[in-house]
Symmetry: D2
Subunit: 329 residues, 4 copies
Amino acid sequence: MKAARLVGLRQIELQEVARPEPGPFDVVVQVQAAGICGTDRHLYHGEFPSRPPVTLGHEFAGLVVAAGAESGHQVGGLVACDPNIFCGTCPECRRGRVNLCARNVAIGLARDGGFAEFALIPGHRALPLPPGLGAEAGAFAEPLACTLHGLDVARLVPGERAIVLGGGVIGLLAVQLARAAGAEVMLVTRHPAKREVALALGAKFTAASTDEALALWPQGADAVIECAGVPETMETAPRLASSGGRVVILGVLAKGAKVTIEPFDLLFREVSLLPAFINPFTQSRALDLIASGHVQTEPLITRRLTLDEAPAAIAAPPPPGDIKTLILP
Amino acid sequence: MKAARLVGLRQIELQEVARPEPGPFDVVVQVQAAGICGTDRHLYHGEFPSRPPVTLGHEFAGLVVAAGAESGHQVGGLVACDPNIFCGTCPECRRGRVNLCARNVAIGLARDGGFAEFALIPGHRALPLPPGLGAEAGAFAEPLACTLHGLDVARLVPGERAIVLGGGVIGLLAVQLARAAGAEVMLVTRHPAKREVALALGAKFTAASTDEALALWPQGADAVIECAGVPETMETAPRLASSGGRVVILGVLAKGAKVTIEPFDLLFREVSLLPAFINPFTQSRALDLIASGHVQTEPLITRRLTLDEAPAAIAAPPPPGDIKTLILP
Amino acid sequence: MKAARLVGLRQIELQEVARPEPGPFDVVVQVQAAGICGTDRHLYHGEFPSRPPVTLGHEFAGLVVAAGAESGHQVGGLVACDPNIFCGTCPECRRGRVNLCARNVAIGLARDGGFAEFALIPGHRALPLPPGLGAEAGAFAEPLACTLHGLDVARLVPGERAIVLGGGVIGLLAVQLARAAGAEVMLVTRHPAKREVALALGAKFTAASTDEALALWPQGADAVIECAGVPETMETAPRLASSGGRVVILGVLAKGAKVTIEPFDLLFREVSLLPAFINPFTQSRALDLIASGHVQTEPLITRRLTLDEAPAAIAAPPPPGDIKTLILP
Amino acid sequence: MKAARLVGLRQIELQEVARPEPGPFDVVVQVQAAGICGTDRHLYHGEFPSRPPVTLGHEFAGLVVAAGAESGHQVGGLVACDPNIFCGTCPECRRGRVNLCARNVAIGLARDGGFAEFALIPGHRALPLPPGLGAEAGAFAEPLACTLHGLDVARLVPGERAIVLGGGVIGLLAVQLARAAGAEVMLVTRHPAKREVALALGAKFTAASTDEALALWPQGADAVIECAGVPETMETAPRLASSGGRVVILGVLAKGAKVTIEPFDLLFREVSLLPAFINPFTQSRALDLIASGHVQTEPLITRRLTLDEAPAAIAAPPPPGDIKTLILP
Ligand SMILES: NC(=O)c1ccc[n+]([C@@H]2O[C@H](COP(=O)([O-])OP(=O)(O)OC[C@H]3O[C@@H](n4cnc5c(N)ncnc54)[C@H](OP(=O)(O)O)[C@@H]3O)[C@@H](O)[C@H]2O)c1
Ligand SMILES: NC(=O)c1ccc[n+]([C@@H]2O[C@H](COP(=O)([O-])OP(=O)(O)OC[C@H]3O[C@@H](n4cnc5c(N)ncnc54)[C@H](OP(=O)(O)O)[C@@H]3O)[C@@H](O)[C@H]2O)c1
Ligand SMILES: NC(=O)c1ccc[n+]([C@@H]2O[C@H](COP(=O)([O-])OP(=O)(O)OC[C@H]3O[C@@H](n4cnc5c(N)ncnc54)[C@H](OP(=O)(O)O)[C@@H]3O)[C@@H](O)[C@H]2O)c1
Ligand SMILES: NC(=O)c1ccc[n+]([C@@H]2O[C@H](COP(=O)([O-])OP(=O)(O)OC[C@H]3O[C@@H](n4cnc5c(N)ncnc54)[C@H](OP(=O)(O)O)[C@@H]3O)[C@@H](O)[C@H]2O)c1
Ligand SMILES: [Zn+2]
Ligand SMILES: [Zn+2]
Ligand SMILES: [Zn+2]
Ligand SMILES: [Zn+2]
């Protein structure tokens, strides 16, 4: 079978590899849709640790074509992959904080993932798609699960205000989740087309900059969801929070990168900074939210590519206005 | 009567002023003990906004010597002052976040306080001391209430670890509250005598520096309570938090002062920053905790001065090793 | 002025009384809309304690026509009354649980209320209506604030399911709030017209009985909101909760009335019972939710009566299908 | 090897069975201490479903004498068994509520447990004992983990009051946990010796009955922890809760048994009923709390028996005053 494999620093190529055989607890998934994520590009550029050679792709869904006897699955089911295989026994797992597992083995990073015709994953990491959901929607389960964790951390209640910073896929999922939680939502992003998408998905306001956002809501928002992952938004996020507000950090800065905060301001307005890391027990709820229509994924798909096109698409920066590129093997 | 009044920038003096008369909702308290707080020195140096001329002193307790008909008090009761008169009608008050009241009028800052023979305060800001508690203990009600809010925000559960940064009065109260919540506690402070006090008050470990602390607990603590209020500890606090930990910010830096954080580290270890500002509905619980013996105040009193000595004591920096100086008018 | 006053057991009459004059902290409100609540009927029948003679009416809004100097209000503003005057100094108030205030003095129960041409209330209990909101909507602020407290207690997150029991005004407000919180909502009530209203207000399903509800959702709901206040629904509510679910009790049974629970079932499915009593700090959020369109009140108004008609309307049971009767003085 | 096996209704006998061999993910534990639990007696009497023939015993600890290659364990380690093998893939597990797993397979109930010389368990259900802890203490890990979950649900903060109902092992563990959380604790139990133990373990008060308890604390307690599991205490528990209090239900009544509640009282005092079922992610914290000395187990051991004596001990009711009987194979 074909697989897009990272073979070294800035080296990704389509290779012919053996089709995987399932162990008793595993399933083999025929990948139908796999999203390219910023992390894939970080891995390519060596900005994140990885273990080449490895097949990338941690956001994918497809058809179960082989199922181990103890996998809990039947051939023929549609599933989405939850890429995080937490260990279950480290101190973090023992207290239920599995997203912080020190021994997490991530599919598509530390073992072969979904930019391939077939992918081998443990049965318990294959989540059945709710009736009516296709693999393209299922490919959003992982990024949505991460965003949902961020929104859980934000604890929005109906009638509050939320500002989402960054109009990428995470930001546009956050817009929808904040709205589903009863918040009035503003998206701040520079690209006009993304602002249009946000309005179509339920944002009440959009802004191109922090200043524009403050002009619209001088009191700020109860929750500010940082989804841009750039120093500028990380630093201005607290300014956009209202008194008593929460800044949720979903965006990833480079390891070692610093930003400044003003503790006096955080303290006197009691604004908290709450990071939300990957997806602890949120992926099946994420699928349900797509199935119930609370979250739309179709408007977020800006490109569909073949597996052959995957290496070049990962090696290149995303085209302007790109939200989510799906590989359809 | 005599009162220690701030009359202008770096000008504090003992003045003879009229003894206050209570309105129908007020009480007049004969001040028996009033603590000097770092804030008093900030007000003296103009580092915090104030409205001179004003009698300072916001941590005090004493005897009700006159009580308005609607005050809810009787002459003869011992009370501690809760200095924050929140408005009850601003958006923050309406949603119960009274510590963030935009129109808070603080006794001893914006109106006359407790460095005086008598103080006039609204009846609802005079909390009856639990049986057996004297005014010296009562003078700790306000700082303890602030620290208790910090510990509420920390949400410690039995078996967790807490590191308290700074061995001033707030830090040594935090040590006792963290221990009362079932945590194993380490105090980090430079002054050896304060470390001794912490051990006597239930800390299990002490350290003179962040490095010493990390040598003792390389995994860090579930909650790090910043009570030093200096840039150095504010910046190192997240490093002392374990994966999934909370950094509670009680210490006050100067307005405009910045410190740097590393968002990548906060995110991947999901360490949150949680400021805790003054005392929302915590002061009566604070008094109960002194009464029940969970919190000791006597070991924290390092000086007792007369009202005549108050102006000089506020104008000068605290003597080395000072924890809490009480004015006994 | 005219006022509908309870003068004794099962005696309510329209009386001519003096128009109130505001003290320095009070406002006089020209009542424009006042809702009849089940509690008014309970007071009439002596099922709730009251202090006749007293003007009933605790759900009202109108125009400020006189304002004390310290009231914080200007003549000409539209306000909604929050009827609960908590004391601020009892143990419950001191820890912020003002809805449990032992000395609460409720307007329209323990002192004169809103079934009158004019009502005198403390300035801090008069909440300005958001721009665009009229007095009819404002008359829903109190019942909505109570329901909102119930929904806060329910802690629904997007994608969960909620079952509301009882299609009165509380139930139909709960339907809207649960939906605003991202839940899929089912209303259970016997009256077909109320089920129609629920569907129009965002319920996804309705049922006429518990059995019908279970047939639709055999797994039950994450939150069951009891708003019928009858023994039958109180007792079946836990059966409708899913494993790990919450039963929120808003409905009021008679003092002393008992229902049975099955502790084994509650325990093994970890279903909790969470009562929610009146409105702690929720009324301004309630108004905002009407203003933002999350909650519609117009479809809940089934009758508009004059002040002259109020006594008879309170003395009689509500007509079949009645949801909210407003008195327009 | 020898094992105490349930072979049918009210039939338990010591049998000679094959010593288990570990699969790749399993460990074999040489059982050094195993506690008899009320559940064992319920299984014997057919009051709980079981699958005989099965070796009972779900509270045990011992030495790893064989370890599969993927078990994560080394021969020679001391471990405590967490008996609940949750499935990881049902809807409850997927959202992290593993204690509600619909497919939980409990060791000592649905598969062979610890009343035997050796027990085979999955490596991830074997928790390493903290340094210094022996198997007798380790045998308390499971009941303490359940009790700890109850205390987590109670959310006690320092300065609150807790009443524990029932002086069995669960009650006496609850006493210690409530105290560790900073609460003032009262134990209510009829047996004088158990009350003595409670006082020695940190209870401040004891009472022989609900009436005695109310005489001591007329306002009730912030948290009432039901650990008796009898209809009487289940029914009186809410009466012992203060306004705003929480009743935590740990005790198990028979399936189908009913008790009555008074909804009016629960509502007007906003007293919630919070069941806490088995141990979600709490067992390693439980071990840490024994290791740190917050919880003592030695005073709770009232009998030590051999494996030969186990069947008779399970078949008979516990002797008066019995707290925890350990089987030492
Ligand atoms: N915490 C987690 O578990 C988790 C999981 C997944 C992803 N992430 C992180 O979340 C972040 C977002 O992911 P993504 O996939 O949505 O990335 P993305 O597609 O690159 O989106 C980031 C967006 O931020 C916007 N942006 C850049 N600079 C901005 C500025 N100064 N002000 C406002 N917006 C700005 C960009 O849009 P414009 O050019 O239109 O402004 C861009 O579309 C990334 O850092 C990613 O690593 C975290
Ligand atoms: N959030 C609130 O509501 C609230 C309420 C009250 C007070 N506060 C603030 O809380 C802070 C503490 O108040 P306080 O009255 O306890 O003040 P304090 O007496 O000045 O105590 C601060 C302590 O921090 C220690 N410290 C200084 N630099 C340190 C370092 N690099 N590492 C470790 N410890 C260091 C000092 O002790 P050593 O010299 O021994 O190290 C000093 O005793 C202040 O910033 C105050 O403004 C906040
Ligand atoms: N907790 C609080 O703070 C608070 C505040 C306000 C009100 N309340 C209480 O909340 C409850 C509801 O108030 P409301 O004003 O909405 O009262 P309501 O208008 O009398 O509504 C109750 C509804 O329950 C329905 N009902 C009666 N028996 C039922 C059954 N067996 N199954 C399903 N539905 C049933 C009735 O509708 P159908 O005939 O259509 O079934 C009725 O419309 C009352 O008990 C009230 O006292 C509590
Ligand atoms: N939720 C869970 O996950 C979980 C886990 C483990 C156990 N449990 C349950 O927790 C309960 C306690 O377990 P255990 O092992 O401690 O049982 P236990 O040893 O039987 O203790 C129950 C105690 O309740 C006391 N009691 C009986 N009637 C009483 C009354 N009217 N008033 C006050 N106390 C009374 C008895 O002591 P006196 O004779 O001295 O009064 C007895 O010692 C059981 O129901 C058990 O099934 C639940
Ligand atoms: Zn792990
Ligand atoms: Zn205010
Ligand atoms: Zn009160
Ligand atoms: Zn499961």
